[in-house]
Symmetry: C2
Subunit: 345 residues, 2 copies
DNA sequence: GTGAAAGCGCTAACAT
DNA sequence: ATGTTAGCGCTTTCAC
């Protein structure tokens, strides 16, 4: 029965276990038992519950955490919550955390190493049970978190250094390979690589996979066709425009991330290039608009939700096991209409 | 100097204020002062800091929260983190929370009233300083949270009942009105309304605004052209297909949300309707793909980031003020290429 | 400037 | 089955 005055509220500070005990005429231990599942006689339990109801009592997780030395919270740090991959990741973590009865502290580092470290610090002070992170900052900072007794799982990035950090990876190597093979199979020999990507997308392994696969297939890489951009919209756009404008003779473009893929699509349209007649376009990261643009974009789907789920599982269930290298999650090549045979020269 | 054994770690439990005090040869009060900014002689501070560094000491937020009766955390509950509007909202809350030095507990309710209430409960037990929510569940549950002494701000929904919940709204009414006026100005008289929407998009006020504006403009509403779908992809698709297939003679389609807008675009393409030659399409919610599809979609942009930021500000700064009705945020009509004059019959 | 001690809300060991 | 008590890590009076 909260007293809700007219304006400026009473801010009645919440009832404590003591209040309930007094109201029910029992000891505080009994109240505790009622709420944490000890054995209490039915009659007493009834009285306690009634009193608790009257007082609007909610056990304080703060008190409990202090006693138990464990908060039941996990930290999640992503580069950018509005990135579709990150959003999927978050959803996965949330879903898994729920099954373990844990809650999630979220923050975004936006590629700022200092901020990332500060967030981690704060989460450690909050005594989270572990941290899941898509790290973009200083690897040393993360090893030191582990050194301080923390548990961390790195998603979509491998942290150089001692293998004290659990890791969940997405098999971009295989994804890019499949895509390149598909393109080459279509007849393409001059394939451009637009590097750099969305947050959550280290371009290094993708470029390496691009080069390796081409080499394996006996196709030469034209360095003029390998371009890099920073993971911002305008940089991506500039890079794509630079490549497509000079018409270096690419018959296909592989965009290493959805941001740069978006740029490629936009630039192609602006240049009145028909897709895939004039140029084929494909990208890594199967975001929702891939199906919406015209023609729909062929893309390598990356399982962000699974990655988040597995990372959380790793943290909460498989800690001891975890020795045994990174978890590697498969990608899927989603073929749509944006790639076709190259135009006959 | 954390002892990192070979496998299965020591799990050295973190140093406490006592450990530091002992190591530095001072009282715990002094250590506390060093870390919470009390007055301490430079020499002592030095010693304490050194000891703390050795022990890898981090003040426990749990201990502090218990003492201070305030955790510095705020709860955020959205329908679905992967929805672009929700993602923007989250980003806004995160940004504002940072400036106040607060952290954020996130969870998703997925339209499940029971889950929403359970999440709120848990957050209250965590003793968050307040909760920001895009409520889809039982309004009574939220009023009772307030009754229990909690602070809640509702975003993008108005909760019926006593005005004890702070509110941040987006002016969809004006947004839809602008869009309808634009369409009518183009010459359209038979405008279809595809209702239901993404999470974070109550369709009611949009439909009302649609009808009102049309009435004001002296244009009759054909009930056959007003269709509703549930906020899932297939339901949206079915609704759009139903409408467009029977060719009820709509010259323009107003999709009330991005999910149903997506469906409209897809269906139009499938039916080989040219946009905007055969049919104009516009939607509420300016998601990133609007610019990517062909032609780019005219849309009403909804300021999710701002909404989140303002909600957080309201919670953290303006509590007392807050009397004075909901905060209302403006939308913006973003005109692209998907709408044109109706085809001459 | 610094230390001793109380107490925040809770759980668990121990006593009854 | 239930009550008493200690103590989790911290801040903050109150003495000195």
């Amino acid at each position: 029965m909260g007293d809700r005055g007219g304006s400026g509220r009473p801010a009645a500070r919440p009832a404590t276990i003591k209040d309930v005990a007094a109201a029910a005429g029992v000891g505080i231990a009994t109240v505790s038992r009622v709420f944490s599942g000890g054995s209490v006689s039915a009659a007493t339990r009834e009285r306690v519950l009634a009193a608790a109801g009257d007082l609007d009592y909610r056990p304080s997780a703060v008190g409990r955490s202090l006693k138990l030395q464990r908060t039941g919270g996990i930290g999640l740090i992503v580069p950018d919550v509005t990135d579709p991959f990150c959003a999927d990741l978050i959803a996965g973590v949330l879903e898994c955390a729920r099954t373990f009865g844990e809650h999630v502290l979220l923050d975004a580092a936006h590629g700022d190493a200092g901020r990332e470290a500060a967030i981690a610090d704060r989460m450690m002070e909050q005594r989270v049970d572990g941290i899941i992170v898509v790290p973009e900052g200083d690897p040393a900072a993360w090893h030191s978190v582990v050194g301080a007794g923390g548990w961390v799982v790195s998603v979509d990035r491998v942290l150089p250094g001692p293998p004290d950090v659990l890791t969940v990876l997405i098999d971009d190597r295989a994804g890019v390979r499949a895509l390149v093979e598909y393109l080459v199979g279509l007849g393409h020999r001059r394939i451009a690589f637009l590097g750099a990507a969305s947050p959550g997308a280290p371009t290094g392994v993708r470029e390496a996979a691009f080069r390796d696969t081409l080499a394996q297939l006996g196709v030469a890489v034209d360095e003029d066709l390998v371009v890099a951009a920073r993971p911002e919209r305008d940089s991506a756009y500039a890079a794509a425009a630079g490549l497509l404008q000079r018409r270096a003779g690419a018959s296909a473009v592989l965009a290493a991330g959805h941001l740069i893929g978006e740029a490629a699509v936009l630039v192609a349209r602006e240049l009145d290039l028909r897709v895939p007649a004039d140029v084929s376009i494909a990208m890594v990261g199967d975001v929702s608009w891939a199906e919406l643009c015209d023609p729909p974009l062929t893309a390598v789907a990356r399982p962000g939700h699974d990655a988040g789920y597995r990372a959380c599982e790793l943290l909460l269930r498989d800690r001891t096991r975890a020795r045994g290298g990174p978890v590697l999650l498969p990608t899927e090549l989603v073929i749509r209409g944006s790639c076709g045979p190259p135009r006959r020269a």
